[in-house]
């Protein structure tokens, strides 16, 4: 019911990823990986999880950092949200992710919270998910079976259920260099420091006549997992993006979400806000494209 004292656990500081994987394998479900700790430590205080073993990933070199090249961006899973907020390349080129970093929690939580942790928590309102989805980001996973890649959305199996196996570690996120511009908008109960009631990320690539040659729209907090608004995307692809079409596309997006009513907001309000935020995110993406110049 209430916040309690942290339960006892064994603490491990592996020096390498293989060492971490060995520890995970040895302890199975009784082990949890420690990244930023902002979700895990709280869950342990609430006694909803009580792992006998905590494996600190931050002692392993090479799991954090932002590397950009001609092909795209690689972000280490342990890169903090504060580092993402402070990154010029992310702000200028991978803007929806920067938007998410700016509106996530508070400065003192962003210093700790990691992008990997945000995804692996698998909460439907995870702020980094919709931006990464519209940017076609891939998650890189290492486990006993070796390395594999999957789209970021595949990490989300259900509310707080991550699809990776207990022995797996997400090591990095890669994002292909985007040709267009995007935005992430987050609806909260106050101006800041809140979970998303609704989160919408939009990405568009527009030609010289503002015709949409590529569009991705992702919605957070309005379904058991973050989802792509594929019908809304189809409604915009090949059309001119204007205030009017943005509004129409918003309406379509509003029919694709399946939110719940809870203490934070009602289902009806969330659907209405998907409509509004989709429209606004598309228009903001369009403005950013206009400011940034076209290829």
């Amino acid at each position: 019911m209430f916040v309690r004292r942290l339960p006892k656990f064994d603490y491990h500081t592996p020096a390498s990823l293989p060492e971490a994987l060995k520890l995970l394998s040895a302890h199975g479900k009784d082990a949890k990986l420690l990244a930023g700790g902002t979700d895990l430590i709280l869950a342990m205080k609430q006694h909803t999880v009580a792992p006998g073993h905590l494996i600190n990933l931050k002692t392993i070199p090479g799991l954090s950092g932002i590397k950009a090249d001609a092909k795209g961006l690689t972000i280490g899973a342990l890169t903090t949200m504060a580092e993402i907020e402070g990154s010029t390349i992310i702000k200028e080129t991978y803007t929806p992710l920067w938007d998410a970093a700016c509106v996530m929690a508070s400065p003192q939580v962003r210093t700790l919270a990691t992008i990997g942790g945000n995804l692996v928590s698998a909460v439907p309102s995870a702020d980094t998910a919709p931006p990464l989805m519209v940017l076609s980001a891939q998650a890189h996973i290492t486990g006993p079976a070796g390395e594999r890649t999957c789209p970021v959305e595949a990490l989300f199996a259900g509310p707080s259920a991550c699809s990776i196996a207990p022995g797996d570690v997400v090591t990095r996120i890669t994002i292909p260099l985007p040709a267009g511009k995007g935005a992430y908008l987050k609806l909260m109960r106050r101006a800041a420091l809140d979970l998303a009631l609704v989160g919408v990320a939009a990405y568009v690539n527009l030609d010289a006549k503002n015709v949409c040659t590529d569009v991705k729209i992702a919605l957070g907090a309005v379904a058991p997992t973050p989802i792509r608004a594929t019908a809304a995307e189809a409604a915009l692809l090949g059309k001119v993006l204007t205030e009017e079409t943005a509004a129409q596309v918003g309406k379509v997006a509003g029919t694709e979400c399946r939110p719940i009513t809870d203490v934070r907001a009602s289902q009806e309000y969330r659907c209405s806000m998907v409509e509004v935020l989709t429209k606004r995110a598309l228009l903001q993406a369009m403005n950013r494209a206009a400011q940034g110049g076209k290829k």
């Binding site: 209430f2 109960r189 106050r190 907001a265 309000y269 509004v276």
Partner: protein
């Protein structure tokens, strides 16, 4: 306008430095040798019989020194009034609300105490839950409080003037219903205390308590201790806002565990416990009927109010009376009829919160003013100016207003916010909302309600000031030092704040109702004058004049008619100590016995001096697509008499307004149908952050109260009372939507907007 040396100047707060450096100690920072740590086990049910509590396994856990339950206390109920003694330290026969403490553990460390909680088994038999006022008043409703045979804890009814005639004479009559939600108090420091018992059985309690006096009286009663067997020393308190007057299970459990183990026991709560189980503001439902002339002059007011206050009466009897009493201000209401009921329920126990019941009453009245002004086609500022209380006005129920700066407050806030300009043109979705309010500078209730101050003038010329209240952040310590320095004519730095210790200070009734500047301030002046008399006698001997000829300024005592002839104040002090062997103590008290004791039955009484006034104008944008409200600027025209410390005064005005921004827009203590709280975490109980509040601008309206110290009035609570309606009225001005049930959420605004647009 008088010019002072220290009063009215922005001197450095006496506690500023210790707080800025992290050296200020709060209850949770205190340690004692051999100290044990306590934790409390809480009820998961809102209403249930306690069939059995088995603490045996917990007691056997290594490191656990004692486990107690309600049965470990004498069973003597206590309460705010003799006729409302309906509380016991911890429940015995049944639990009354979600999170109520049912057992407490003391152990050698926090981890052990925490683990012991899981080893206590409680057998409950769930009882039907009384959640709302409606539930409480339904025929055959289950009884909530075992000490009361009804769910109606208290009532207040009165009629003053001739309301029937007033309504007959009215050109326009409007009736509206308003409601307000359960909210937490929201101070940042959670409840905490350290209790010890000495070898004679004397208890020392160091706790985060706002008003040591009620804590002391209630605790001694419920623990069956003579008053002399309990000493309270209060450390710094991290905010209180009337949420920390009463003793709680935290305090009782710490004392009882200390008595049983013979070791100091410290209990520090986590904030989620505070949100779940401790003081909230009572929920309100009120119907108002207002009659006015077509020029906007109020002719009559009829009000019915139900307050739902949780399972104890607490300060509720005063709340239900005060709601009605204060409908008589800040506007002139010639005739009024009021009926109020306070009911019990199985939600968290209520006390009162910053601004007290006036917050809720004013929300209703000023929303109503906003509505009728619109209906009558009268300007929002004008209608308030027409009805504003003025100097030397007596309300229908007998409250005397000596000085009212309200007309000027209204003018200033309207000017600062740019009201006239906004009527000519403003952006779509932009609105300005007004409200006025007033607040007494401490009401006189029954029993021990005086304030007293002791000044010890040391042989080095420094004064140590002790008073019976507490520094909860409002700056009272600083203000009293300013006043003492001013009267004695010595530098502010020479007056030092002494400890808040019940052994050396006469405890006053408490830090609430805006009383401390006024009551303790007057006591400070009396104490300083007492010292002055003693020093003047000594100086008169030296200077060979009549003591009445002497003036005290800039560290000197000199002859008024011949300022060249004088002596250093320090010299007079040294004569006292070294030549005469006389210590110098100044004693002063102030009890306002000239004002009436409130007559609870008739509601009549001039219950307070120093009515302070405020006019608040808040500018905001409302997003028509999302319903979200963004507050831009708030202009407060504030009459607190003579500002004693202008910077701290502004802080009081800003703070109250910001606090109620949360109440207006985003705070709501939510319960499920079984009375279990749903959002007892700051994750889901949203208080305003720095980005949620507007820029605050305070215009002082400088008046002089004839009874106030240096002409000052209380300042801490007026803006809390004016901000709810200002926000509600602003939303209406922005998008034409009137929300009458708080909080005004984006969802509610959007739903109303859609209704208006026919969607």
């Amino acid at each position: 306008m008088a010019e002072y040396e220290v009063v009215g100047k922005p001197v450095e707060r006496t506690d500023g430095r210790v707080k800025a450096t992290g050296k200020a100690r709060y209850a949770g920072d205190l340690v004692a040798p051999g100290m044990l740590h306590g934790k409390i086990l809480r009820s998961p049910h809102a209403h249930a019989k306690i069939l059995n509590i088995d603490t045996s396994k917990a007691s056997k856990l290594p490191g656990v020194m004692a486990v107690i339950t309600g049965k470990d206390f004498p069973g003597i109920p206590f309460g705010t009034r003799p006729d409302t003694r309906d509380q016991i330290p911890m429940p015995i026969t049944k639990v009354h609300h979600f999170g109520e403490g049912v057992a407490a553990v003391a152990a050698i460390d926090e981890d052990t105490a925490d683990a012991a909680l899981d080893l206590i088994t409680v057998e409950y038999e769930e009882l039907p839950v009384v959640l709302t006022a409606e539930d409480a008043l339904a025929p055959g409703a289950p009884l909530v409080n075992e000490f009361c045979k009804s769910n109606v804890a208290y009532t207040s009814d009165f009629v003053f003037g001739d309301p029937e005639e007033g309504f007959k004479q009215s050109d326009y009559i409007k009736e509206e219903t308003f409601s307000s939600q359960r909210v937490a108090v929201g101070f940042i420091e959670p409840h905490a205390c350290l209790a010890e018992v000495d070898a004679t059985g004397r208890v020392l309690l160091q706790g985060s308590k706002q008003s040591p006096y009620p804590t002391w009286r209630h605790m001694c009663r419920a623990l069956d201790l003579p008053l002399s067997k309990m000493r309270l020393v209060t450390p710094f308190v991290g905010g209180a806002f009337s949420g920390k007057h009463d003793p709680f299970d935290v305090d009782f459990a710490a004392v009882k565990l200390a008595q049983i183990t013979n070791r100091p026991v410290k209990i520090v709560l986590n904030y989620d416990e505070v949100l779940a189980a401790y003081r909230q503001r009572n929920a309100m439902n009120a119907t108002l009927k207002m009659g006015l002339k077509k020029n906007g002059k109020i002719m009559a007011l009829k009000a019915e109010c139900v307050l739902e206050g949780g399972p104890i009466a607490g300060i509720g009897p005063f709340n239900i009376y005060f709601f009605g009493a204060w409908l008589n201000l800040p506007y002139k209401v010639p005739a009024i009829e009021y009926h109020g009921k306070l009911v019990y329920s199985n939600r968290a126990p209520c006390g009162t919160v910053r601004g007290q019941e006036i917050v809720l009453a004013q929300y209703a009245v000023d929303s109503m003013i906003g509505i009728v002004a619109e209906d009558l086609g009268i300007d929002q500022v004008e209608i308030r100016a027409i009805n504003a209380a003025t100097d030397n006005w007596t309300t229908a129920n007998g409250i005397v207003i000596d000085v009212s700066g309200l007309p000027e407050c209204i003018e200033k806030s309207a000017q600062t916010i740019g009201w006239k300009e906004s009527r000519k043109a403003r952006p779509k979705g932009r609105g300005i909302g007004f409200s006025c309010a007033s607040h007494p500078s401490g009401v006189r209730l029954g029993g021990h309600f005086g304030s007293s101050v002791l000044l010890k003038l040391q042989e080095d010329g420094k004064v140590i000031l002790t008073h019976g209240g507490t520094e909860i952040g409002q700056g009272c310590n600083t203000v009293f030092c300013q006043m003492a320095a001013e009267v004695l004519g010595i530098p502010f730095e020479d007056v030092i704040q002494g400890p808040s210790d019940s052994d050396t200070a006469i405890l006053d009734s408490g830090m609430f109702s805006d009383r401390c500047t006024f009551w303790d301030g007057n006591a400070t002046i009396a104490a300083a004058n007492d010292l002055k008399r003693q020093l003047a006698e000594i100086a008169a001997q030296e200077l060979k004049v009549d003591p009445k000829e002497l003036e005290f300024k800039k560290g000197n005592i000199y002859i008024k008619s011949n300022p060249e002839k004088g002596m250093n104040l320090l010299k007079a002090v040294r004569i006292a100590y070294y030549d005469l062997g006389t210590p110098l103590y100044g004693r002063g008290y102030w009890a306002a016995t000239d004002i009436d004791l409130v007559d609870w039955k008739t509601g009549r009484g001039n219950l307070a001096h120093g009515i302070d006034f405020i006019a608040t104008a808040i500018e905001m944008d409302v997003d028509r697509e999302t319903g979200q409200v963004r507050l831009i600027r708030a202009a407060h025209g504030d009459d607190a008499g003579q500002p004693i410390h202008p910077v701290m005064l502004e802080g009081q005005v800003n703070g109250g307004s910001a606090h109620m921004t949360g109440h207006a827009l985003m705070e709501d203590s939510l319960y499920d149908e079984k009375g279990r709280m749903l959002n007892f975490s700051w994750r889901d109980y949203k208080q305003p952050t720095a980005l949620d509040v507007p820029e605050y601008i305070v215009d002082h309206v400088h008046t002089h109260d004839p009874y106030g110290p240096f002409g000052a009035k209380g300042a801490g609570e007026a803006s809390s009372c004016s901000s709810l309606a200002a926000i509600a009225n602003g939303v209406y001005d922005a998008v034409g939507v009137r929300i009458k049930d708080l909080p005004i959420t984006a969802e509610k605004i959007l739903a109303e907007l859609k209704k208006k647009e026919g969607k």
